[in-house]
């Protein structure tokens, strides 16, 4: 079968999958970075118990596979009266898990900020919240761009697990195509190439943004 014919038949299927994967990954990555910032704020501001709580949260998510929160939210939310769409449940699970990793990445970058800046902020009379928002967070995010890029790539690949809760993203489309056509591996090889493309694209975006905002 020629490529044109092939693309005409299967193109839309892959396009649907690609759209779901990209949209879910984008939303989850944004949510995970925001959630990581919140966890960092709690760790820095809520005293010893806050730090201990965040530590426990991070350890829990670091030592369990992401499929568990995916299943937990997907199966449990309807039972407690929250019949959210599967894709929202899946994205939420990815946000909870990756937010834990991201808060650790950001914590590492806080240590790269010169202590003098905290003294300077205090001597200017900046309130703690403003110090965090205007001094700490912008620098931490810029320092963390390469590590955040790595984490985003991991998140992007983990969206494939959402096929387990019947979301029609790339991996699910490949599975359906394989079962419909009986062709053993063609669909998965195409999907693997599409993932490679998405992963490489993500890496390029993060590298470019790192170059663009790197000061000094």
């Amino acid at each position: 079968m020629g490529f044109a014919r092939w693309a005409a038949i299967y193109g839309p299927t892959y396009a649907t999958g690609l759209a779901w994967t990209a949209a879910t990954a984008l939303a989850a990555a944004g949510g995970a970075i925001a959630w990581g910032c919140v966890l960092l704020l709690i760790r820095l501001s809520a005293g010893r118990w806050g730090a201990l709580g965040v530590d426990g949260y991070v350890q829990l998510f670091r030592n369990t596979p992401v499929l568990l929160p995916i299943y937990l939210i997907y199966f449990a939310f309807p039972m407690i009266g929250l019949p959210w769409p599967a894709v929202v449940c899946g994205a939420l699970a990815l946000i909870l898990q990756n937010g834990a990793y991201i808060s650790e990445i950001l914590r590492g970058s806080v240590n790269a900020i010169d202590r003098v800046q905290f003294d300077a902020a205090r001597s200017l009379g900046l309130a703690p919240w403003n110090t965090f928002r205007k001094i700490v967070l912008p620098q931490v995010l810029v320092y963390s761009i390469p590590a955040l890029g790595n984490q985003t790539v991991l998140l992007l690949k983990d969206t494939s697990l959402l096929s387990a809760i019947s979301i029609t993203e790339l991996t699910m489309q490949a599975k359906l195509l394989t079962e419909q056509t009986g062709a053993a591996y063609e669909a998965f090889i195409v999907v693997a190439l599409l993932y490679l493309l998405l992963v490489s694209g993500t890496e390029v975006v993060f590298r470019a943004s790192h170059r663009a905002v790197r000061w000094r």
Binding site: N63, L68, Y71, A76, K157, T171, A184, A192, Y195
Partner: protein, 218 residues
Amino acid sequence: MPAGSLQLLAQGAIVSLLLAASAIVGGTLLAIVLAVMAFSRLAAVRAGYRVYVYVVRGTPLLVLALLLFYALPALDLRTGPYIAGTLVLIIYTAALFAEVFRGGVLAIPRPQWESARSLGLPPLAMFRKVVAPLVTRYTLPPYVNVCVMTVKASSVLSIISVWELTLAAREIIERTFAVFTVLGLAAAFYFVMCFGIDRLGRRLERHLALRGFAGERA
């Protein structure tokens, strides 16, 4: 939760651990070959290494698993999910381990190479007495990290019907709807395995520490 569920989950945890253990052993062996390729004199061999790492790290584990799961029977290899699953975990962890080892070799300080060469050590002795001991110590923390990742990654194999902890949990949930208890217990099993590996790694790190060498790390 009906009686017997806890035993099922414990059995699943043992299967997960066995899957991870065989993937770690097989992956380490394959990674050593790959790391040697990374330092080959032939550009084509080095390119082969880079392509392997790029492809395996750039595709989701689930896609690799499904690819093997469907493709192996089509190639007339009736292997079943366990072999396909172990194989894909080995392929996946080997890429991660190889990158760890490559970093460890690059971290060896230049004077170590020079003194080994000036002593006239033959290649095998150089590997055994200089490269291996240093790389082991440099790479132990990231190596242990990958081991923990392998335990977690084995859960993905539940989707290609490898019966292990996650699939055991899913089956019990579908029968009993005891979502919180079952997933909580499964999480506890995973936590104990991963956290245990992490702690073991740290003890080994202290055990292997060379006195007075830490500062020389390049």
